[in-house]
């Protein structure tokens, strides 16, 4: 199990487009990938669960990775959120 925190910089928060891209990216990995905000957990492979969290710009979220390819997944997510979210 690996995790990291990220502060959302996208002024619109986690809206439809980044949520779609998160799902696309997550589906490349076997590991379960969660997005945690305000005590609630979303599944990065399920778009509705991400959007239901209502994450806004400035919110701190945790990404958690669990599975055989968790290292690779975490690396890809770290890159993605640094520039896109």
């Amino acid at each position: 199990m690996k995790e990291f925190n990220h502060v959302i910089a996208d002024p619109e928060g986690v809206h439809a487009r980044p949520a779609t891209e998160l799902v696309k990216l997550a589906k490349n990995y076997q590991s379960s990938i969660s997005i945690i905000f305000d005590g609630r957990v979303g599944d990065c492979k399920r778009v509705f669960t991400i959007m239901a969290l209502g994450i806004k710009c400035g919110n701190t979220v945790t990404f958690a990775f669990d599975g055989d390819d968790e290292d690779a997944a975490m690396e890809a997510f770290t890159d993605f959120v640094a520039t896109k979210l």
């Binding site: 910089a9 439809a16 487009r17 696309k24 239901a52 209502g54």
Partner: protein
Amino acid sequence: MEKYVGKSVFRGIAIGRISIYEKNQQQVKRVRVTDTEAEKERYAKASEMALSDLSDLYEKAVKEVGEANAGIFGFHQTMIQDDDFIDSINSIIETQQVNAEYAIAMTADNFAQMFSAMNDDYMSGRVADVKDVGERLISILSGKKNASVSGDESVIVVAEDLAPSETVQMDKDMVISFVTTQGSVNSHTAILSRTMGIPSLIDTDFIITKELDGKLGIVDGNSGVFIVDPDDIIIEKYKTLLNEELEKKQLLLSLKGKETVTVDGKKIRLYANIGNSKDLAQVLANDAAGIGLFRSEFVYLEKDRFPTEEEQLAVYKAVLETMAGKPVIIRTLDIGADKQCDYFEMEHEENPAMGCRAIRICLSRPEIFKTQLRALYRASAYGNLAIMYPMITSVREINRIREMENEVKRELKSQGIEIGNPATGIMIETPAAVMISDELAKLVDFFSIGTNDLTQYTLAIDRQNSKLDTFYDSHHPAVLKMIKLVVDNAHEAGIWAGICGELAGDTSLTHEFIAMGVDELSVSPGLVLPVRKQILDSRACN
């Protein structure tokens, strides 16, 4: 004649026949099925077709409205392929032994409900997306085609609300406006109408009746009014307005995308001034090649305390990213004189225009300056940033600024924070800076002449005092000679010089400025194209 009020999502005037857009009301009936496996198979096939339709729509939308707006169809695909969405539909089919259409409608309603319950404007806008996806699947299953706008006359499309796929499937050349009775400013109708550049109203206060269809309508996107059956006087009034707008649009079209280059081949940097990140859309719409003056003080003026480094970084970064590699010149805090901020707790001054303002505040209160510099250097990693310092009068000030820049860079590097390599320039807006511009030019990367203050200091005339208007001459030869001197000194040292004051947008002077050798003009977004027009038939060398 009837008049209704709505929320305008794009300015402009449209006059045309009203066309009511009626959705194919999908009468979804609940039908019992015995072979649930076959029903799931029907749904799976429809799902595949929907995905392929959506990728076609995506391609069409990319061409028509750009990749950013087309992205919504990627979201639709993701929803259709979403496990929760699929599981819900299959489970309803199986447990309730019902037809796929009904299961889809139920599921779409449930997910839409989730978005509308979030009490968030943006998420409420997504209700339409979920319903759109549901309706797409159902119409595939029922073998119906979606309704569409066709015909050979330009129409004002009136509807309750429009789903993104409905707007994309319309024949855009025929649509001159959208008027909806529902919808939010974040709805896709709103976004698309902005991208298409057609005046549109949402949330308009009337009830759609069949009688409206085919009547003459006027949409006034400037004041948010929808007029049905206008009388002749109103029609004439709006026709005149429309013609004026068309002329402006024509100018825009003929000049948009063109390089700003003089008759003798010198490329001019034609940038826009902005005082707020909300102006960014205007910068892009008017085709400026960059931002020549970003007045960073607004970041301070809209707060009741000092903005933090992170808050500033977020604003600068967003601007740099939106401009996507185009130059963005951010002027450091220029507060004082006519722009005051209570929390700075400035002492009262007899003569604020010549008092503690701009760089003088920054150098005498380094903690404020340092926060901004840190935010700027951090932001520089995200785009093509240049930093510009206002109200410079001496070499000593520049040396002091350099020390602080170096301190900030060292700190950030030692913290392992990535920074870019921004160019640094100064405003030339005091007669002192003009007179020593030969020395200053050796120390900086560019000059930008602030003509408003330069004129006031040179002529010793307070511009706020209307009694002095007869003495004031914005084209005073003293100011024009100073501009020439600054440009010459800049070129001597191998740097560029531009103008970002009001004079930059004065089209009666454009030819003269270009002939003087001015390399850059930064004007308010609305003036970019008129100035470009002047530059295109000017000469840099006499």
